[in-house]
């Protein structure tokens, strides 16, 4: 990266200060290449993103969860060790036992939960990526189907099977007994809003927000054309809720104006993974053909494909 020094004078300050400026390549995010067992960068910006070559982290990775900050939490295939990887390399996460079966990353990537199936225990790590704290174990009453963790790491969501077809979302918080947030039959996903303990619950044909302050609220439902929901997430500022459907339709609810915008693509969304920006997401995985991106930061929401790059 080239550096440049410029001088600014703040009127409120009496002395001039010189600061280095720099221009380099833009990194939109990273993505886990399951076939290669490696992390690959998404270079560029949403409108001109290219897939970069695999990052040599020194070991094959078994699974990984990518944060929009340009790093990922991963499990080494050979040792089962939990590591944090980025373009600059790989380092171990102290205190997390080897062999985690799943990783849940908070919306802003500041906290994560490593889940161990055999002990029904999740180890919650906060202060990511630079100041990881001592993992805090949380033991679940039953085997969860999936997890979500809040940005402060204080709250965990567990989706548990309830009978043959039902499912329950439980909130584990502050070491108390879990609270039932929701019972349903077709729960597609759950997520915390960034920087908040408010919870988004996505069902097949409806998305709800369970707010700490105001309780449950409907974000969108069948009457809004919601069907076959794959996932839902909030924008970084929490003002927009993005709902992705299997048909390729994406609905964006503006929580301030209550306006509902839709955009569609000839793709098959399977994910909703954050990239750099307030409302930029990856819609699918590498194994499912070209990557598709959702850009809700542009004047009109749009779906773009990722150009191929080096392998």
């Amino acid at each position: 990266m080239k550096t440049f020094f410029c001088t600014f004078v703040m009127a409120a300050a009496s002395a001039a200060q010189s600061n280095p400026g720099a221009v380099g390549g833009a990194l939109l995010g990273i993505v886990f290449d399951e076939n290669a067992g490696a992390i690959r960068p998404l270079n560029g910006i949403p409108a001109a993103a290219t897939l970069g070559p695999r990052l040599d982290t020194g070991a094959d990775l078994e699974q990984a969860a990518a944060a929009d900050g340009g790093y990922a939490l991963a499990i080494e295939a050979a040792t089962g060790a939990a590591v944090i990887v980025s373009a600059s390399g790989r380092r171990s996460l102290t205190g997390v036992p080897p062999g985690a079966s799943a990783i849940a990353l908070s919306p802003r990537g500041s906290a994560a939960a490593f889940f161990f199936k055999a002990s029904r225990t999740a180890y919650v790590v906060t202060g990511l990526p630079g100041s990881a704290g001592t993992p805090r174990p949380v033991i679940f009453d039953r085997q969860p189907l999936s997890l979500a963790v809040s940005d402060d790491g204080a709250a965990l969501l567990a989706l548990e099977r309830n009978g043959r077809t039902g499912a329950t979302i439980l909130l584990y918080r502050d070491g108390k007994s879990p609270a039932v947030l929701h019972n349903g039959r077709a729960i597609a996903g759950m997520a915390f809003l960034p920087g908040s303990a408010d919870v988004l619950i996505a069902e097949s044909d409806a998305v709800r927000l369970v707010s700490e302050a105001f309780g449950p609220q409907s974000i969108a439902g069948e009457g809004d054309g919601i069907a076959g929901v794959v996932a839902a997430a909030g924008s970084a500022d929490g003002d927009r809720v993005i709902i992705v459907m299997a048909s390729g339709q994406v609905a964006i609810r503006d929580r301030k104006s209550n306006a509902l915008a839709t955009v569609s693509c000839a793709c098959r969304p399977t994910a909703l993974s954050r990239l750099r920006g307030a409302g930029v997401f990856r819609l699918n995985e590498l194994w499912d053909g070209p990557l598709w991106l959702l850009d809700t930061d542009s004047p009109e929401p749009r779906i773009l494909f990722v150009a191929g790059g080096a392998q």
Binding site: A26, I45, A47, A48, V280
Partner: protein
């Protein structure tokens, strides 16, 4: 503390000793207070019982004035004789127990945190109170009049003992002439912490910073609640008609049981209000958690588990959520803990009590082990829920949703269901009924104590069925009548309880019940139908099944069925006609006593000797004349034996067969026919007694050995009876040996040529002659076994058969042999009659008459390999060498004796050749058509071949064929090979047929003439119908504007610069979606399109390359983020500039609230920065994308800046601004 202030408190402190002085002066009324409470009944089992409010009314004292010092903070402490259990809702022990100062109305209730000083208000000199820190007007009262009591908690011991509540720093402003009321509400006490007696306030203290102030000790203690045992829990019968103190009996059926209510659990309160709903809300919908109803009226009588609470108060700093103060988490919860539930039993309970909806209502809310489960919206089928049973234990918890006000009772049904197959009575089950013991974390209400387990179910056996006798035995004879019927008696094990039963037989015996079901007591007849059964011992089982599932009883059934009598022999076997009675003896089996011998159906006087022997007397009247009698034996139950015939007659030989044999013949059977023959008879042949092979009353067969007939002669034959009686004698004649065996040849073809005939045999003697037909011939040569004669041609001139015999002198004539004279063969047909030169070997089929075995087919007198199929058909193989050249051949058939047939002609034709096709070409995908093939030597049956595939062909002439070409052969462009093949497989030369592609129309690829960078640009593709599969290829190229480099991100959505699509033949295809990413570098994108079909380029001339101009434009910024530390701010900007250069950045700063900035905009020259990046290695492949990081140093605090925005300029213009907010 000011003098004014000090004087007041001096007055208070000295109130008691100086009261007289104050009263006398009349200047300072005493500040006096009186506590009171309206005691309420509470549950002795409850640990968080809401007791009565404590109200302290004060008068006197001197109010604080508005311009004076702040009102003095005072700690107020209540001490009880019981442990305080008011819930802690905030920090430092801040509880839900509230002090309401001066009875504020709901709209005027404001929380006060005196610890932060907000309540250290000032007075108004009137004693009407003012405790807030904001402006106070008559129209906007702003009193802070609600204070939280601090309680002692296990982990939060801040004030006092476990039995005290302290309200710290209350601004107590004496009311002067008025009244100041202190209401203490939401007081919860542990009723179990007091062994007996009421719950009381024992002391009340007002304490300033200087010293405690005992207040009105004389009136204390005051009673706030009276604990009473509140719950009576009983097990009742299913209908809840009566108490079942010993539990309920549950009959256990082997058949299992469906859902059945067996018992009722009754939870009854002993006083009104012992059962309480969560709130006083009238809301009763059980499937939705009832919304709390505001209970914010000071002094109201609360009949629910909730006390005073005002949700409008909300969260209040370290005090916690005051809006939830006094609010119970649930209503009274009743719990039933079931134990000893047997494995295999499903346990159910009512979701609601019996008076739900119309009266007191309880609702099942939890089935977990401590009853603290959250409110469960739906359980079970809507009325009844199944309980999870773990190790025989199950738990049900019901919550009171609505109380009746009086001493209520709640009845909940208990049900069981189980599957068939429970064979062992389970031990008794019990139930423990109590209040649900909420854990501390679940808040209110909480209870302690464990009730005793009461009997619930005792499992009993239902009455059974007893059957007598224990076994049934039947006997009889196969083929006889059915055995007699027998009876079963069935009674109940409990005589007073009839039991329905069913009878079934599970084996193979045909058991018939008088009735297969009934009710005890009963007698059921059982019969067996043995008709058609064979002898043997049979066993079966009758099963009596109690319909109530108590069990089943097996009654073994045994049937012994004897074999019918069998006669093996009768002695004597025959009876001679005579005038006296004859005794016969019958030997056999199964002659049981009582069996009778019958003579032609007439019973005889029978004597039982043994099971194997009977004797019977045949009266003379039954044997007076010859006849054959039928003798049988019949049992007592009508079974009949086999029948045996007994002849009654005389003893003579009528004839023998054969009567003559040839000497030297092999042994043979001699059949003697006559009457009166019996077993034991012997045959005398020529003086030797011969063993009899078989005998019937009228026939004897004996085997004559060869040695007995070795010599010619005569042998007398007689039959000798067992008693020595002999029949008449008949002679067997043995004749001398003379025989013809063969003649050679035995067949000849009719012709005019004589031939020698050889006769073989035995017994030829000198002087013998031969006779052929009617002609006698003399031997040409002779010995004892062979004679040769010359047969003249005249005897075989025509077809026929001639008898050949030899006559020895005597004359003795031999047996005759036949000489066959066959006719001459004649040919009538030949197939095929022609072939093609070069076709290879051919098999000829020749039809005709008189085609003899051994005949040969000849081709121009050359013998062929021949197969005689029949006298009318013969086949022959013509080798390929004879078919090599065109010409004709003479075909004949020659017999083994060289007689030739008439001749037929076979033609060998020349090979075909073709010279022209009409037409010689067609369009790809065209319609079917007729193809004319011209040539020479074309024959009928020839086929036109298209790339080796046969076409439907019509023969026109030897120079022309026509063939039908289907449309399917025109699906591929290119050349086809056409030839002709004859019926016998000879192929001509081939000619080429050409298939041409049609022009491609109706296709287009359209792109906009211009667009901007950073887009996914749709390209319009239009397609039409084409008769063959069409492959389209769009190729992208990019040329940077003014020497700008390529941007590798400019691609199609398939991540390539080549996009290929295929449209199937003959259909209107959906146009492919084609998107091109325009990248981030200015230039021209060129799209070149081509189409191929079957590998042939069919791109129409109108398809021209599409050029998309991406013009130079101002930078585009996609995101910006900001971070800061104490004195620096860093901004990270992502975006692109499609000119790959930038000139300057303009930064605008927005001040934080309350801060001001001298300069809000800064401009930076960035040309070298961007030139270095795009001109360097790292920026070479970046297109126009960049990340620009700019830092700032702020003199002063960086927190004075709230956000900043940036615009970036390049040679084409300036971008829109993007901004970021500093965290």
């Amino acid at each position: 503390m000011s003098a004014r202030h000090l004087s007041l408190w001096t007055a208070l402190l000295l109130a008691a000793p100086a009261s007289t002085l104050i009263a006398q002066t009349g200047t300072i009324p005493p500040f006096t207070c009186a506590p009171s409470a309206k005691a309420v009944p509470v549950r002795a089992e409850g640990t968080t019982e809401l007791v009565a409010d404590v109200v302290i009314s004060c008068t006197g004292g001197i109010p604080f004035i508005s311009d004076g010092p702040p009102i003095t903070p005072t700690d107020i402490q209540l001490t009880f004789n019981a442990n305080v259990t008011s819930r802690i809702i905030g920090a430092a022990g801040a509880s839900e127990s509230l002090l309401l100062l001066d009875e504020p109305k709901p709209g005027a209730q404001f929380p006060c945190d005196s610890r932060t000083g907000v309540c250290a208000g000032i007075g108004n000199g009137l004693g009407t109170g003012y405790y807030g820190n904001g402006p106070q007007t008559l129209t906007a009262p702003n009193n802070r009049n609600m204070f939280q009591g601090l309680v002692n908690a296990v982990t939060q011991l801040t004030k006092g003992s476990p039995q005290t509540i302290t309200w710290p720093s209350v601004p107590v402003d004496p009311p002067g002439q008025g009244t100041r009321t202190f209401r203490f509400t939401n007081l919860r006490l542990d009723a179990t912490s007091v062994s007996s007696g009421p719950l009381m306030v024992s002391t009340i203290r007002f304490t300033t910073a200087n010293a405690p102030i005992p207040l009105l000790a004389a009136n204390l203690p005051i009673v706030v609640a009276v604990p009473q045992a509140s719950l009576v829990a009983t097990v009742r019968d299913a209908a809840s008609a009566s108490v079942a103190s010993l539990g309920v009996s549950v009959p256990v059926s082997l058949n299992g049981a469906t859902l059945t209510r067996y018992a009722t659990l009754r939870f009854a309160g002993t006083f009104g209000g012992a059962d309480k709903p969560r709130t006083t809300a009238a809301f009763i919908n059980p499937d939705v958690s009832p919304a709390p109803a505001t209970q914010n009226v000071p002094g109201a009588a609360f009949t629910s588990e909730s006390g005073f609470f005002n949700p409008g108060l909300g969260t209040f700093g370290p005090g916690g959520n005051l809006g939830a103060a006094g609010l119970a988490d649930a209503g009274t919860r009743y719990m039933a803990v079931f134990s000893g539930i047997p494995a295999g039993f499903n346990l159910y309970v009512d979701l609601y009590n019996s008076t739900a909806a119309s009266g007191p209502t309880g609702r099942l809310v939890s089935t977990d082990s401590n009853g603290a489960g959250s409110f469960v919206p739906t359980i079970g089928n809507g009325l009844i829920a199944v309980l999870p049973v773990n190790g025989g234990t199950a738990v049900a918890t019901w919550e009171v949703l609505r109380g009746g006000g009086a001493a209520d009772q709640f009845d909940f049904g208990v049900y069981l269901a189980y599957a068939a197959g429970i064979t062992t009575l389970p031990p008794a089950a019990g139930v423990q009924m109590r209040y649900a013991p909420f854990p501390q974390a679940a808040s209110f209400p909480l209870f302690s104590g464990v009730a005793n387990t009461q009997p619930l179910f005792s499992f009993v056996q239902p009455p059974g069925v007893v059957v007598a006798p224990g076994a049934l035995l039947y006997s009889g004879t196969a083929g006889g009548r059915n055995p007699a019927s027998q009876s079963l008696s069935l009674v109940s094990t409990v005589a007073t309880v009839p039991v329905n039963f069913n009878l079934i037989s599970t084996g193979s015996l045909p058991i018939q019940f008088q009735s297969s079901s009934g009710v005890t007591p009963a007698t059921i007849g059982v019969t067996l139908n043995t008709q058609g059964m064979s002898a043997g011992t049979y066993r079966d089982t009758i099963t009596a099944i109690a319909a109530n599932g108590s069990g089943r009883t097996a009654i073994p059934v045994t049937l012994t069925l004897n074999s019918p009598p069998q006669i093996s022999s009768i002695s004597p076997p025959t009876i001679l006609v005579g005038p006296t009675d004859v005794t016969i003896t019958l030997n056999g089996t199964n002659f049981f006593p009582g069996t009778v011998v019958q003579w032609n159906g007439t019973p005889l006087s029978t004597t039982f000797v043994s099971l194997a022997q009977l004797t019977a007397q045949v009266p003379a009247s039954l044997i007076a004349a010859p006849n054959v009698a039928t003798v049988t034996v019949v049992t007592q139950d009508g079974a009949q034996s086999n029948s045996v015939s007994v002849p009654v007659g005389t003893f003579t030989i009528a004839s023998i067969n054969p009567s003559t044999v040839t000497a030297g013949s092999p042994g043979f059977n001699l059949t003697i026919t006559g009457t009166g023959f019996v077993s034991g008879d012997g045959v005398n042949v020529g003086g030797s007694i011969i063993q009899v092979a078989s005998v019937t009353p009228t026939q004897i067969v004996v085997t004559i050995p060869p040695n007995m007939i070795a010599q010619a002669g005569s042998l007398p034959v007689t039959v000798v009876g067992p008693t020595g009686l002999q029949t008449n004698s008949v002679n067997l004649t043995v004749a001398p040996l003379f025989r013809l065996d063969t003649i050679s040849p035995s067949e000849v073809t009719a012709t005019a040529v004589s031939f020698p005939l050889t006769i073989s045999g035995v017994g030829f003697v000198t002087g013998a002659s031969v006779k052929v037909g009617s002609t006698t011939l003399q031997p040409a040569s002779q010995n004892g076994t062979q004679i040769t004669v010359a047969v003249p041609a005249s005897l075989i001139a025509g077809p026929g058969s001639l008898a050949v015999t030899v006559t020895n002198p005597g004359p003795v004539v031999s047996n005759a042999l036949s000489l066959t004279v066959n006719p001459v063969p004649g040919l009538t047909g030949l197939s095929p009659t022609a072939g093609t030169a070069g076709s290879g070997a051919v098999t000829l089929t020749i039809t005709g008459t008189n085609l003899p075995t051994g005949a040969l087919v000849q081709w121009n007198r050359q013998s062929l390999t021949t197969t005689v199929v029949s006298a009318t058909q013969i086949t022959a193989s013509v080798p390929a060498s004879l078919m090599a050249t065109a010409g004709q051949a003479s075909i004949t058939v020659v017999t083994t004796d060289s007689v030739s047939s008439n001749a037929l002609t076979f033609t060998v034709n020349p090979a075909p050749a073709i010279t022209a096709l009409g037409p010689s070409s067609a369009s790809l995908g065209g319609a079917a058509f007729n193809l004319t093939v011209t040539g020479t030597s074309l024959t009928s049956g020839s086929v036109v071949k298209w790339n080796g595939q046969n076409l439907n062909t019509t023969f026109v002439s030897s120079t022309q064929l026509t063939a039908q070409v289907p449309a399917g052969l025109l699906a591929s462009a290119g050349n086809a090979t056409v030839g002709v093949t004859t019926a016998d497989g000879v192929s001509s030369n081939t000619l080429r047929f050409t298939i041409n592609l049609p022009p491609l129309t109706g296709v287009s690829v359209t792109a906009p003439a211009s667009t901007s960078s950073g887009q996914d640009q749709n390209i319009t593709v239009t397609l039409g119908v084409y008769p063959v599969d069409l492959v389209g290829t769009v190729t992208l190229t990019f040329a940077g504007d003014g020497g700008l480099p390529d941007d590798l991100a400019i691609q199609f959505q398939n991540q390539s610069r080549v996009f290929t699509f295929t449209t199937p033949a003959g259909t209107q295809p959906a146009p492919p979606q084609l998107v091109v990413k325009t990248g981030t570098v200015a230039g021209v994108i060129t799209l070149t399109t081509s189409f191929t079909a079957g590998g042939v380029d069919v791109t129409p001339p109108g398809i021209v390359p599409q050029r998309i101009q991406v013009g130079r434009a101002a930078p585009s910024l996609s995101s910006a983020t900001c971070t800061r530390d104490t004195s620096t701010i860093t901004m990270v900007i992502d975006g692109f500039t499609n000119t790959r250069e930038a000139t300057q950045g303009t930064f605008d700063f927005q001040a934080a609230s309350g801060a001001t900035l001298g300069t809000s905009e800064l401009v930076a020259t960035v040309t070298p920065l961007f030139s270095a990046f795009f001109g360097g290695t790292s920026g070479a492949g970046a297109g126009g994308v960049f990340r620009y990081i700019q830092g700032f140093t702020v003199q002063g605090s960086s927190t004075s800046i709230a956000s900043l925005s940036v615009k970036l300029g390049n040679s084409a213009g300036t971008s829109s601004a993007v901004s970021c907010r500093l965290p």
